[in-house]
Symmetry: C2
Subunit: 530 residues, 2 copies
């Protein structure tokens, strides 16, 4: 695992991996081309020790003191997630709502003890996995003291069942940490969100994270066999079951609970063998409507591609370096059991029926490249995106994403309304200097999960409010046109107004009642969900 | 739809379709062969009007009176589900716990009005779909008055979205009724539980029913896009979304809620085009262990067969008329989009690796039969099973099923323990005269859903207690060896003791709190779940 000390307190990932040198020069050149006249002055982050972070307002009981850190940089590093608005506030040295202590349990009993202390003291506690939230999920955005419960030390794969292909894994394990422990068993969870390196199993479960697969197991939910939870009123674990119909699913109540109902300490997760066969194709379209229809045809064909990512022309240009008039579809099939040629062949027939032109194909088994491979460039770009976002934030750019899902039927009007709202907001708050991009991250038989990017020229000192205005305009368009306020980034604090409107009330009442039953003093992550 | 008047008040389905004539003769002959010496006297059901059903203890408000039936046969027909224990009690004329009224809302507002009346009157109300529960889910098994809310008149497909392939369907629609309305759109829900003809969409949703597909969309849950619910404290509807990560899933709280949290009035369901390509194979094994391993290999290969049903030798003999030493695997692949040859071919390679011998194949596209087709005989037998169960119940047989799921790792010990418990119970309460069968109804990468059948010789007047003893012994074995007390039959009242032990406590507290919030006077289906 990346040692905590190497992590950037203000931005994505590690300081060592930040955009620098030639990458920075190239990035700046691209922005200069895209938004001529934008002020590209680089604003470095402040010295965290200069920000006047107040002393902790709480002291732990002696027994818990060895788990607690009051270090200023540690606390600042846990004060926020990694959304654009978090990074910008860090760059400006805004130090409100810093947790008083970072508590690092080493055992589940430590978690129980911390919750007991916090319950008795009515002290809010923010469960924290990798801290990669982009929705204000880990920020103690309220008055009064707070502690952050950093679960990263609970990072072991405790048990592997090779017959059922499942493993019991502690919730604090970061992506690479758990994959390293599964590799000797020739098994993999294969859940690869963009945050993979800097997020944890528990964080994925608590936020219903979206992963590698464009179809079928799109969310971590689908890979979950059972969950173990510590709530202020008790500890419990669901039974390991491949499927069940015994009442409402217990796990589904905690999946997406964002730390408001309990602390997930471990889970049995469904695993797979590593894929031996992979076939990939990139397909170009001259019309976006045709590209969408072709993608829908694949999503409804029962072929279940591992990847089915439709990039609009702006996204294809900016992040895959490919010029297409209508769209670029990246298709991939993979299997640990059998060659997937017939699957890809049929998908390519379908997209061909809608005017798609195959630009490149790749067959991992043969190693052959059938042309320039936009899917590979896109994947490398994918992992660098958050780092580049930070580099741009330092240069007064407004760069952020929003993601959603809607039905295919609704998509054309939805997409028009959302992009119009984004464009209008960019016009109003960024003098029209900006780009809106869209890709599908996941596709379902009944609809896509579109993921939008904003790249706009801001003014240093104003980019936070500029983004907030764009975000509000776009979120309202999403809500008004039948989308979900989040497909896989979670609700956190940033999505609350739209989530509250989206959540059907009988369920809202049930959730509030559940919260009151499990967390009667309301210490768990106050401000999220309920 | 089958008119309500044609339904059997005491047993499965319609009176007209009951086992009679040559089918009855053949059935009796088979039992005589299987259990020589068993008393096969046929005990006809009593005249329902002779059972002394008391007059209704409640009177509806005038506005609701036109929706209410106090007819004795109507009330008796709604007093129980269709489990063996329900049928036996009916055959013996036991008339306790008959609802005072059967109320048939014609609109959602009627449902609201009925719940308002019941809330004010603190009158328990049992939501009722097709009444096919085999777990005591619709029986007002408590003291005092009760009304049954029969939703069958809410039976329309209200809207079809052909682009997203989804439809808004009222909850009271029986299987054939909703399929008839979808057929003109060339779409199908393709959810085919054994109860298909005599169960409703709302019942499937409330009980997390298992359907047609052995993999992927095994439960109705997976076909659900949004749900509309009337609870005593409010009406609400989740948003139509192909996927979402906005907090815990609202729908998953009501899926499996068994009428205890609210009345489901309609839902948007995901549909499919009718399959054009189907390939089926039946595969024989000489060893059950090898058959299980082969089935696991298919389940873990990412091939997603529509059918993957492993029958043990007793099940194969009794219900498919096929003699195999180790097991019979019925495999089927289907698609509306593409030929499925490569899928079946790979599955047959896998089962071949484990000693499976292909006995027959069938290709719907070519119409060709590759041999005697056990899969077809099995399917016809499948739909007659509940009727035959009734015919046997009339002849003092103890005939019932129990179903579960567990991990592959646990299955060998689990299966040994469950069958041993069943055999031991049959030895103790049925003098050893009986057969235990097993089939897998659904398979997952991490485990199978085994479905057990009991065919034992009872004594007239004692078969109810004989079954209850077998059921208790087997249920405890399931619970002790890591299974779920139900994979798709629901909890109802019959599974409560084991469900209560299985449900993890933090979730139990959340569920009780949710129930109190949505149904503060506790009128909704008292006795199920909480």
């Amino acid at each position: 695992m990346t040692p905590a000390s190497a992590r950037s307190w203000w931005g994505w990932g590690t300081d060592a991996a930040r955009v620098d040198g030639a990458e920075a020069v190239a990035l700046v050149e691209r922005v200069a081309l895209l938004l001529p006249g934008h002020d590209l002055t680089d604003h470095a982050p402040p010295d965290p020790r200069s920000l006047g972070v107040p002393e902790p307002r709480v002291a732990p009981p002696a027994a818990l003191a060895p788990l607690c850190s009051a270090d200023v940089v540690d606390r600042l590093g846990h004060a926020r997630g990694k959304a654009f608005r978090d990074v910008v506030r860090n760059l400006h040295g805004a130090a409100a709502h810093v947790p008083d202590l970072v508590v690092r349990p080493r055992t589940e009993q430590d978690v129980v003890d911390v919750l007991d202390w916090c319950t008795v003291s009515e002290l809010p506690v923010v469960p924290y996995g990798g801290g990669s939230s982009v929705v204000g999920g880990v920020e103690p955005r309220f008055d009064g003291p707070a502690v952050t419960l950093d679960l990263a030390a609970l990072d072991r794969v405790l048990e592997v069942d090779p017959v059922s292909r499942a493993a019991r894994i502690q919730a604090g394990a970061h992506g690479p940490v758990l994959e390293d422990q599964l590799r000797p068993h020739d098994l993999t969870l294969r859940h690869f969100p963009q945050s993979f390196e800097f997020s944890t199993l528990g964080g994925w479960l608590a936020t219903r994270a979206g992963g590698h697969f464009a179809t079928l197991a799109t969310h971590i939910d689908d890979l979950t066999e059972s969950i173990r939870v510590v709530s202020p009123t008790g500890v419990g674990e669901s039974r390991r079951l491949p499927g069940s119909g015994a009442g409402p699913s217990p796990d589904r109540m905690f999946l997406g609970s964002e730390g408001a109902l309990g602390v997930i300490t471990e889970a049995w997760m469904r695993l797979q063998r590593r894929p031996q066969w992979q076939r990939t194709a990139t397909v170009g379209f001259t019309s976006y409507d045709a590209a969408v229809t072709a993608t829908r045809a694949v999503a409804q064909a029962g072929l279940y591609p591992a990847n089915c990512r439709l990039l609009d022309p702006a996204e294809a240009l900016i992040n895959a370096g490919t010029t297409v008039a209508g769209g670029l579809l990246i298709l991939a099939f993979e299997s640990a059991d059998h060659p997937v040629g017939p699957w890809l062949d049929r998908a390519l027939e379908l997209v061909g029926d809608h005017g798609g032109e195959v630009l490149a194909t790749r067959d991992r088994a043969t190693g052959g490249d059938g042309g320039a491979d936009a899917s590979r460039s896109w994947r490398s770009a994918f992992l660098r995106m958050p780092y580049q976002r930070d580099a741009l934030a330092r240069r007064s750019m407004v760069v952020e994403t929003f993601e959603t899902a809607c039905t295919w039927d609704a998509f054309p009007a939805f997409h028009a309304a959302v992009t119009a709202a984004a464009r209008r907001a960019i016009d109003e708050v960024c003098d029209g200097r900006g780009v809106v991009t869209c890709r599908f991250t996941h596709v379902y038989p009944d609809g896509p999960a579109p993921y939008y990017g904003i790249y706009a020229g801001g003014r240093w000192g104003s980019t936070l409010t500029q983004w907030d205005e764009i975000k509000a305009a776009v979120s309202s368009a999403i809500a008004d046109h039948g989308g979900t306020i989040t497909h896989h980034h979670a609700v956190g604090r940033d999505h609350r107004p739209w989530y509250d409107a989206q959540r059907p009330e009988p369920f809202g009442a049930a959730l509030r009642a559940a919260k009151a039953a499990l967390d009667p003093t309301g210490i768990l992550n106050p401000g999220v969900l309920v």
